[in-house]
C-alpha cells in the first residue's frame, strides 16, 4: 500500500490487544488507514468501511471506527484530520463535518449551562446578602428597648470620651432639666435618658442606643443660646427614639454574616472586612437618618415649647465658625449638606401655628452655666477626636 502522507502518532482499540488499547503509529494509505502498535501488531481500516468522529479529552482527537465497532484507530496529532480527509478522497467528509457540528453544538450547550450556573451563583450570593441584611433589620425591629439600653450602657462605659465627666451642678443640672423637658413631650417614649457632659474642647454631641447622650463642653462653649443646645439635644433624642444606632449595629452584624456567607470561613479576611465595614457603618449616620432626626427633633422642641429654630441657629453658627476655624471638622465633614438642613428646619418651624416659646434654660441658669464653663475647658488630645467615638450629631 502506498502511503499518502506522513506517519502520525496515535493509538488503537482492539480486543486482541492486552488491556484493549495500545499506542500506535498511523499511516493514511490510499484506501485504508494502517496502524502499527508499540508491540508490533498491525491493523488496517478501510475508509469505505469506517465511521469517523471527533472527541477525546482535548476535543481534537479523531476516531476512525470499523462498522462492526471491533477496531478503532485514533489520533489527535495536528494535521491528521486533513491528511485523513485527503487520503479518503471525500469518503469521510460528511462524517467529519457532522462530528464537528455535533461537537460545536455540545460545546455551546455546555457553555450555556456553565454561564447559567455562574449567573445563578452570583444571583444567589447577592440575594443572600440582601436577605441577611433584611433579617438583621427584622431582628432589630423585634428587639425590646431594654436591649438598646444594655448596649448603650456598655458602649459608653467602654468608650474613650477624650475628657473627664463634668460633675459641676451649675453645668449639669440645667442640661438634665432640659433633657427631661424634651423627654416629657412623648409619654410613650420607652427610653429614659442619661446625659453625660464631657470636659473637652470638642464641638460634638452624640447619642448611643437606649438613651445615653453625651455633650462636650466645647459645644456648650460655642453655643450662643440655650435653644441651640436644646436643638442639638432634641436631634440626639430623635436618634435614640428612631434607634439609628441599633440600625448601624444591625448593619455591621449583617455585614459580618454576609461576608462569612460570601467567602466561607476565611478567618483573617472576614475579620479585616468586618472591621472595615464596622468602621464605615459606625462613623456616621446616613443622610436620611440625620434628616429624620432634624425633623423629629424640631417637632419635639416645638412640643416642649422651645423655639426649634435654635437647631438651625446652631448650624449657622457652625457654618460661620467653620469658615474661620478648621478645628470644627465633625458636623461639616460628614454633613456637607448643612445649608439644606438649615433651610429644611426653618421651613418646618415656620409651619407651626402656635409659636409661643419659653427659654430652653432660664436665663439665670444659662448665665451660670456659661460662667461655670470657662475654667473647666481644657485642651483635648486632638489626633483621634472624630475617628473613634460616635461622631453622629
Amino acid at each position: 500500500m502506498d502511503d499518502f502522507d506522513d506517519t502520525f502518532s496515535g493509538g488503537v482499540f482492539h480486543a486482541d490487544i492486552a488491556d484493549g488499547r495500545a499506542g500506535a503509529s498511523i499511516d493514511c494509505g490510499v484506501s485504508a488507514l494502517s496502524a502499527v502498535t508499540t508491540t508490533g501488531a498491525r491493523f488496517e481500516l478501510r475508509y469505505d468501511a469506517c465511521t469517523v468522529r471527533i472527541g477525546g479529552a482535548s476535543g481534537r482527537m479523531v476516531f476512525c471506527r470499523s462498522l462492526d465497532q471491533s477496531l478503532t484507530i485514533f489520533c489527535e496529532q495536528k494535521g491528521f484530520a486533513a491528511a485523513l480527509q485527503q487520503a479518503a478522497g471525500g469518503l469521510l467528509d460528511e462524517g467529519l463535518a457532522q462530528s464537528k457540528s455535533e461537537l460545536r453544538g455540545a460545546n455551546a450547550r455546555s457553555r450555556n449551562l456553565m454561564f447559567g450556573l455562574c449567573l445563578g451563583c452570583v444571583v444567589l450570593l447577592v440575594a443572600g446578602y440582601f436577605a441577611l441584611m433584611a433579617a438583621g433589620r427584622a431582628a432589630l425591629a423585634a428587639a425590646p428597648p431594654s436591649i438598646d439600653e444594655k448596649i448603650g450602657e456598655l458602649a459608653i462605659e467602654q468608650m474613650d470620651l477624650k475628657g473627664s465627666v463634668v460633675e459641676d451642678p451649675a453645668i449639669v443640672a440645667p442640661l438634665e432639666a432640659l433633657v427631661a423637658r424634651l423627654a416629657a413631650t412623648d409619654p410613650d417614649d420607652p427610653f429614659s435618658y442619661t446625659l453625660t457632659v464631657v470636659d473637652a474642647d470638642i464641638t460634638n454631641a452624640f447619642a448611643l442606643p437606649g438613651g445615653q447622650i453625651a455633650i462636650y463642653t466645647g459645644l456648650l462653649e460655642l453655643a450662643d443660646s440655650p435653644e441651640q443646645i436644646a436643638g442639638v439635644l432634641g436631634h440626639e433624642i430623635a436618634h435614640v427614639t428612631e434607634r439609628h444606632g441599633m440600625h448601624g449595629i444591625a448593619r455591621s452584624l449583617g455585614l459580618v454574616v454576609a461576608i462569612q456567607f460570601l467567602v466561607g470561613d476565611a478567618g483573617g479576611l472576614v475579620a479585616v472586612a468586618a472591621e472595615f465595614g464596622r468602621f464605615a457603618a459606625e462613623n456616621a449616620y446616613s443622610r436620611d437618618q440625620e434628616a429624620d432626626s432634624d425633623r423629629l427633633g424640631v417637632e419635639r422642641l416645638h412640643a416642649a415649647g422651645i423655639d426649634p429654630r435654635g437647631l438651625a441657629g446652631f448650624f449657622e453658627l457652625l457654618e460661620r465658625e467653620t469658615a474661620s476655624d478648621v478645628d470644627i471638622p465633625s458636623w461639616m465633614s460628614t454633613h456637607p449638606d448643612h445649608a439644606a438642613r438649615i433651610a429644611a428646619i426653618t421651613t418646618q418651624a415656620q409651619r407651626f401655628s402656635n409659636q409661643t416659646y419659653t427659654p430652653a434654660i432660664p436665663t439665670a441658669d444659662w448665665d451660670a452655666l456659661k460662667a461655670a464653663l470657662s475654667p473647666t475647658v481644657t485642651t483635648p488630645s486632638p489626633p483621634e477626636e472624630t475617628s473613634d467615638g460616635r461622631d453622629n450629631r
Partner: protein
C-alpha cells in the same frame, strides 16, 4: 518492575520490586518504606527530562508537589512500599504510549519514562466537576500507580458513562467529559441530591473512586474545634 498492591481496598499500599538501576518516580511523601540499597533523588522534573521548575509549578497547580522523588535500585530485587495520603485504594495501570488524565493528588507513582505534567480542562469543569482546576497529565509508556479515596473501580467506557462529581480518579485522553445535569430538570437534579454530574463519551478506560473527599470535609468541618 514488579508491582504488588496489598491490603486492598481500604488501606492499600503498593510494594514495588525494582530491577537493577530501574527507577520509580513517586509523589513527595508517598514512600512508606524501602530497602537501604535504593537511592533517592529529588527533582522538579522527570528523571533526565526537561522542563524543570516550570513543570514543577504546573504540577503544583494540578494538586501535586513541586518536587518529585526518584527511587533507583542499586541492584535487582530491591523493593519499596508507596502509599496514598488518604485511606483508599491503589490501582496499577500500564500506559502504552497514550495519555492518562488524572485528578489532582491521585497520581502516586510511575515509571521514570512517563512524563508528569498539568493540564487545564476548562473553566466550567474547574468550577463544577468537584475536582481541581488543573489535572495531572501522565504521558508515555510504562507503569502508572494511581490512588483514590475509598475503593477504585475501573470502567471501560464505549459510548457514554456518567460519574458523579468528585468521584473521578483518572481517565484516558480518548474519553471526553462534560458537566451536565443528573436529570432532565436542573431543579430535579439538585433535589435528587446528585446535582451536576460528569458525562463521559468516547472509548477508553475510566477509574472512579467510591468516596468523595469534599464530602468528608463537609461532614467533618462543622465538628472540628476552631483553631
Amino acid at each position: 518492575m514488579d508491582i504488588d498492591i496489598q491490603a486492598r481496598p481500604a488501606a492499600s499500599v503498593a510494594k514495588i520490586t525494582l530491577g537493577a538501576n530501574e527507577t520509580l518516580t513517586c509523589e513527595v511523601g508517598g514512600m512508606v518504606a524501602m530497602d537501604p540499597g535504593i537511592t533517592v533523588e529529588t527533582t522538579t522534573r522527570k528523571k533526565g527530562g526537561s522542563g524543570g521548575l516550570l513543570k514543577g509549578l504546573k504540577r503544583m497547580l494540578g494538586g501535586e508537589n513541586l518536587f518529585i522523588n526518584h527511587f533507583t535500585a542499586s541492584e535487582a530485587g530491591q523493593s519499596l512500599y508507596v502509599g496514598p495520603q488518604l485511606l483508599g485504594d491503589v490501582v496499577h495501570h500500564t500506559l502504552t504510549g497514550g495519555t492518562m488524565v488524572v485528578q489532582g493528588s491521585s497520581w502516586l507513582a510511575s515509571a521514570d519514562d512517563i512524563e508528569i505534567d498539568a493540564t487545564f480542562q476548562g473553566l466550567g469543569k474547574a468550577l463544577f466537576s468537584g475536582e481541581g482546576i488543573f489535572w495531572v497529565k501522565c504521558t508515555g509508556t510504562g507503569d502508572l500507580l494511581l490512588n483514590s479515596f475509598g475503593a477504585i473501580y475501573p470502567v471501560d467506557v464505549d459510548g457514554e458513562y456518567i460519574v458523579d462529581t468528585g468521584h473521578i480518579v483518572a481517565f484516558e485522553d480518548s474519553l471526553q467529559f462534560r458537566i451536565g445535569k443528573a436529570s432532565k430538570s436542573l431543579i430535579g437534579s439538585f433535589l435528587g441530591g446528585e446535582g451536576l454530574v460528569c458525562k463521559f463519551s468516547g472509548q477508553g478506560r475510566l477509574y472512579c473512586q467510591s468516596h468523595n473527599p469534599p464530602n468528608l470535609g463537609t461532614m467533618l468541618g462543622p465538628k472540628l474545634k476552631p483553631r
